[in-house]
């Protein structure tokens, strides 16, 4: 199936010069005189190498067929992650590197939207927001009401992030797993 640049978005899989790539970055460019272009970063599905390429607006490419299935995360085995289709009990194995940074946020037995090309895991569609409990945080200094202060906190999944100074151990907070940025406190 042909897809045009107007359908491009981050995370999309395309065939580019006979090889599969994922669009990891996408930006509009207008050189002023001349129609619009799209500046992309493409990650090779074969080598993991990232290349820069600028497409003409309206250009089309062949898509790389990927389906999304809700798979249950079972466990990690070295550099591999094992998932299971809860309907058919089929197991799928994917490399940790394919899941990227989100690997640290996976919780056993939870289901995640997993992207498959045939039987092959090619990626995960990570949620924009996850909630996690704060396991460790430096204590709040009494009387310090100044704003703009931050501290480092450790979440219950072992991930370390920067959060506002009022966050304490035991709080539940929302985090963007992609950027690892604090979003907000969910409960106190």
């Amino acid at each position: 199936m042909q897809i045009t640049t107007s359908e491009f978005r981050k995370g999309l899989y395309i065939m580019f010069r006979d090889d599969p790539y994922q669009i990891t970055d996408l930006e509009f460019v207008n050189p002023g005189k001349g129609s619009a272009f799209f500046r992309t970063k493409l990650r090779s599905m074969k080598t993991g190498r990232v290349i820069d390429y600028t497409f003409k607006s309206g250009e089309s490419v062949e898509d790389y067929p990927v389906i999304t299935l809700d798979l249950q995360y079972l466990y990690r085995d070295g550099d591999h992650l094992i998932f299971m289709d809860p309907e058919t009990f089929n197991q799928f194995t994917g490399e940790v590197a394919i899941v990227g940074e989100f690997a640290d946020f996976l919780r056993e037995n939870e289901t995640y939207p997993i992207m498959l090309h045939g039987e092959e895991i090619v990626g995960i569609r990570p949620p924009k927001r996850i909630v996690a409990k704060v396991a460790e945080a430096e204590p709040v200094i009494k009387g310090n009401t100044a704003t703009g202060l931050t501290k480092t906190v450790v979440l219950d999944n072992g991930v370390t992030i920067t959060a506002p100074s009022f966050i304490e151990a035991g709080d539940t907070i929302a985090v963007n797993p992609d950027s690892r940025e604090y979003i907000e406190r969910v409960t106190s």
Partner: protein, 353 residues
């Protein structure tokens, strides 16, 4: 008052909570101060021209924001936000007000927010009468050195480090013609192949459709093979554009196939666009009419030509040169950040998400 929680919090809120730094915006403030001081010290008049106008720029590939002014009697005047203050500033040149500069907002519709674009952005334009565009190049060199000095570097304005790469601002900046750039970085002979660029691009492996124009092929080669290499040691002035790519510029005195136009690239980023200004009213009118025709073909908003601008040229305007320079991108460079969003307190995607 409750509000919906969104995924991305506002920049002000992130600064308040210590999750974002205000420093890049403070660098921007210093860049603007240093810029204003630079031109005032050199005897330029600072002018303010309308942002809401009846006749905006005619560039075929820029789209405008349209609105209207209604008076108390209900009369309605359609108007537009300017894509640049160029026409008004040239009228002031014709009035004998020069040299002059302006720092103002400009607006471009039908564009996305990106690391280098915001629909509302800040533009610096300056014009010199009885000058050519080589003098504008020297202004650029001195302006960037003045900003670097004002920001207080150890190198006294001679170098600036952007994203780990040190750019030499102190020695004479590279001057590279468009023709040389295509030969050096893309192995393309523009002199011979300008109008065959679609075939050249196809031979290079770019996907070319029957409706693609030589200008699209030009930009695809330029954006992929040339732009990333420009301005990496010193900033680069890319100059002498094919005449068809410079609607407001005059032809070069040495070569009538190229126009006196340059773009400034710093660390691969386009910072400015300058012209040896076209001062021939008849030629200007012909080009504006052709551009209006092209706007209609492209389905862009149609409006009349600013005949007052053509009239200003007809009344006589000295040989002049001028430039539009992006303040947001310049601030991004001096703040050493990846995106102009970081030097904007209120990027448009936060306002309209």
């Amino acid at each position: 008052m409750r509000r919906e929680k969104s995924e991305i919090h506002s920049t002000w809120e992130r600064v308040r909570d210590g999750l974002a730094s205000a420093e890049p915006c403070f660098v921007r403030e210093q860049v603007v101060d240093a810029t204003r001081a630079f031109f005032k010290e050199r005897g330029f008049h600072e002018v303010e021209t309308p942002l809401f106008v009846r006749y905006p720029g005619m560039e075929p590939y820029l789209e405008v924001f349209q609105t209207e002014w209604r008076d108390t009697r209900g009369r309605c005047y359609p108007g537009f936000l300017t894509t640049s203050p160029e026409y008004a500033m040239k009228k002031l040149l014709a009035a004998g007000v020069g040299p002059l500069f302006q720092i103002c907002k400009s607006f471009r519709n039908r564009e996305d927010v990106s690391s280098r674009h915001n629909p509302e952005f800040t533009i610096l334009e300056w014009y010199r009468a009885n000058a050519d565009y080589l003098e504008i190049m020297r202004d650029c060199e001195e302006l960037y050195r003045a900003i670097a000095t004002a920001l207080g570097t150890e190198s006294a304005g001679n170098t600036w480090t952007y994203r780990g790469k040190t750019i030499d601002l102190g020695t004479e900046w590279e001057r590279l013609s468009v023709r040389e750039a295509f030969t050096r970085y893309a192995g393309v002979d523009l002199q011979r192949d300008l109008y065959q660029l679609v075939d050249v691009a196809r031979d290079k492996g770019y996907a070319m459709a029957p409706e693609n124009t030589w200008e699209q092929a030009y930009h695809q080669i330029f954006l992929n093979e040339i732009e990333p290499r420009l301005g990496q040691t010193t900033p680069t002035f890319l100059y002498e554009y094919p005449i068809a790519m410079a609607a407001l510029a005059r032809a070069s005195a040495n070569d009538s196939t190229v126009a006196e136009r340059f773009e400034l690239y710093v660390a691969g980023i386009e910072m400015a666009n300058a012209f040896g200004e076209l001062t021939d009213a008849d030629e200007q009118l012909r080009r504006l009419e052709a551009e209006r025709q092209e706007r209609r073909l492209l389905g862009k908003t149609d409006y009349a030509i600013d005949t007052d601008f053509v009239h200003a040229l007809a009344r006589g305007i000295p040989p002049s040169a001028g430039i539009a320079l992006g303040i947001d991108r310049t601030a991004m460079f001096f703040a050493d950040v990846d995106s102009i969003r970081e030097v904007l307190w209120f990027p448009a995607d936060e306002l309209f998400q």
